[in-house]
Amino acid sequence: MTYQNEGAETTGSTSSFEVNMSTRYKIDTVFKYATWAAVVVAIVVLVVLLVDVAVDGLPRLSWQFLSSMPSRKPEEAGLLSALVGTVWVMILVALICFPIGVGAGIFLEEFSKDTWFSRAIEININNLAGVPSIIYGLLGLQVFVRWLEPVTGGRSILTGAATLALLVLPIVIVATRESLRAVPDSLRQAGFALGATRWQVVREHVFPLALPGILTGTILALSRAIGETAPLITIGALTFISFLPPLDNPIEGVQSPFTVLPIQVYNWVSRPQAEFHTNAAAGIIVLMVVLLAMNATAVILRNKFQKQA
């Protein structure tokens, strides 16, 4: 650096370059710390939130809390029905939105021709991703609760899952398309040049490479769905459920009324008694553990597919 400064000075009068290293390095340093500060702010806020919740909720966590139904007495109340409801809903959301979202993404990216119609669909899928979730709740109320009542059983697990699946479908579709677009075109050409049909090319070469990215997108989508409260309240998920959906009859099971963890937490937070607020904190911890478990599963799946490719 010193050398360069000297060089700049000795040729200073004749050179048309003003190297000026010290100022440039100063700006470098300023920006390094500015971006570092941004990271610190983000992390600190998150840590404060987590610690606060943990301090309030951890002592309340117990087997009794996990295995009890809601109750009017805070010390007897548990979130079994909400936990089971969340698990049911999330499994169904994954089952509905993965095949439909991935299918739509594959069609739009690999099969559809570039017409004004497909472009219109593309723009609107991106718009759909930004629609407030309460709107999806209203849609679910009309379509799944009212029109499709014979199928869904009204305010049921299936209705909730279908509504949430619609809500996160754009995320899955967009992630699928982006992953497919990232697969080099030379692979498609290689497949076609060997006399493969489009489906054979997609099935054998493009989709396996895109799958890790698609799974990441699906995780993001499910993470969003698991925390949604508004659309489920709109379609009329109950807050007080003191029974579990029957496991021996899945059809009857998915048609049962339900509640989910965010609704249970919301319900407890809005009670006046402080003990219920403690329950809410514990509920938040459970919700986060479920979310982390789900993400971990998806990360493991993704790594497994990545190794194969």
């Binding site: 021709k113 570039d114 080099p184 030379s186 692979l187 498609r188 050409q189 290689a190 497949g191 076609f192 040049a193 060997l194 006399g195 493969a196 049909t197 054979q200 054998e204 070469h205 490479l209 490719a309």
Partner: protein, 268 residues
């Protein structure tokens, strides 16, 4: 069919292009190309960038179909039938007219699977292990990979990958192999091996090769087609065929001044 010998040049043409023009959208990319590709010979396409040699090559196995805006006029005859006939199925056609690309593009799968894929999707009924071995042998890469057939094709060097791609193309028993600058991403030694391979392959296959390397064209080909491009008022380039003759003639005593200038390195 390969053994059939006749002096009639008509029957010896594996492919016959007649007044072929290619458009991308509304703009003309290559105009009015007519040439015969003789059976069991190597035909080289040379010319400056943007002269349409790759475009014409891609018409031969209808890879241009994959570009939505591309349109082909004129006629390319293969076994007495226009390739662009409604009745011709491009998927079926591409099995009989194989292609090797500029950048080696093996599938990110095992070496074995790279070869077996084409055979499997085309309903190959024979012994797959044998086919894989035969194809790799013909592509002069068997000795290097026979102990690691289960390893990824991407673990090979660039030159080996390109020979793997040639083996993959051979595996489905094509009649014609189209090569689009197959050596442009390779070092000189790998290039030499591919050129030797092309010499062997022409016993069995008809080969059309696009190349930027004029020494390569003179070394490997029997016939050479020189393309050039002219700029239009709007700045687009339109390619056209300048001269097509025996390679020796193109390089020693071409009929056109433009060809002379190009092969002697005076322009382009």
């Amino acid at each position: 069919m390969v053994a059939q010998t006749t002096d009639n040049a008509t029957d010896q043409a594996a492919l016959r292009a007649k007044n072929v023009s290619v458009y991308y959208g509304s703009s003309l990319a290559v105009r009015d190309v007519s040439l015969d590709i003789p059976k069991n010979q190597v035909v080289a396409f040379i010319g400056p960038s943007g002269c349409g040699k790759s475009t014409i090559l891609r018409c031969f196995n209808r890879m241009n179909d994959l570009i939505p805006a591309a349109r082909v006029d004129g006629e390319i005859t293969f076994h007495g039938r226009n390739l662009y006939d409604r009745a011709v199925d491009p998927v079926q056609l591409r099995r009989r007219i194989g292609m090797v690309f500029q950048k080696p593009n093996p599938f990110p799968k095992s070496i074995y699977e790279n070869i077996a894929f084409g055979a499997r999707i085309n309903g190959y009924k024979g012994n797959m292990d044998e086919l894989v071995e035969q194809s790799l042998l013909k592509a002069a890469i068997w000795d290097e990979v026979k102990d690691k057939l289960k390893e990824s094709g991407l673990a090979l060097s660039g030159g080996q990958q390109q020979r793997l791609c040639i083996a993959r193309a051979i595996a489905i028993a094509p009649e014609i192999i189209l090569m689009d600058e197959p050596c442009s991403a390779l070092d000189p030694i790998s290039t030499l091996r591919i050129e030797e391979l092309i010499h062997e392959l022409k016993q069995q296959y008809t080969i059309v090769i696009v190349t930027h390397n004029m020494q390569q064209a003179s070394r490997v080909s029997d016939m050479t087609a020189f393309y050039n491009a002219e700029a239009t008022e709007t700045g687009n380039k339109i390619g056209y065929l300048v001269e097509y003759d025996r390679t020796q003639k193109i390089f020693k005593e071409p009929a056109e001044q433009a060809t002379q200038d190009y092969v002697s390195g005076r322009f382009g």
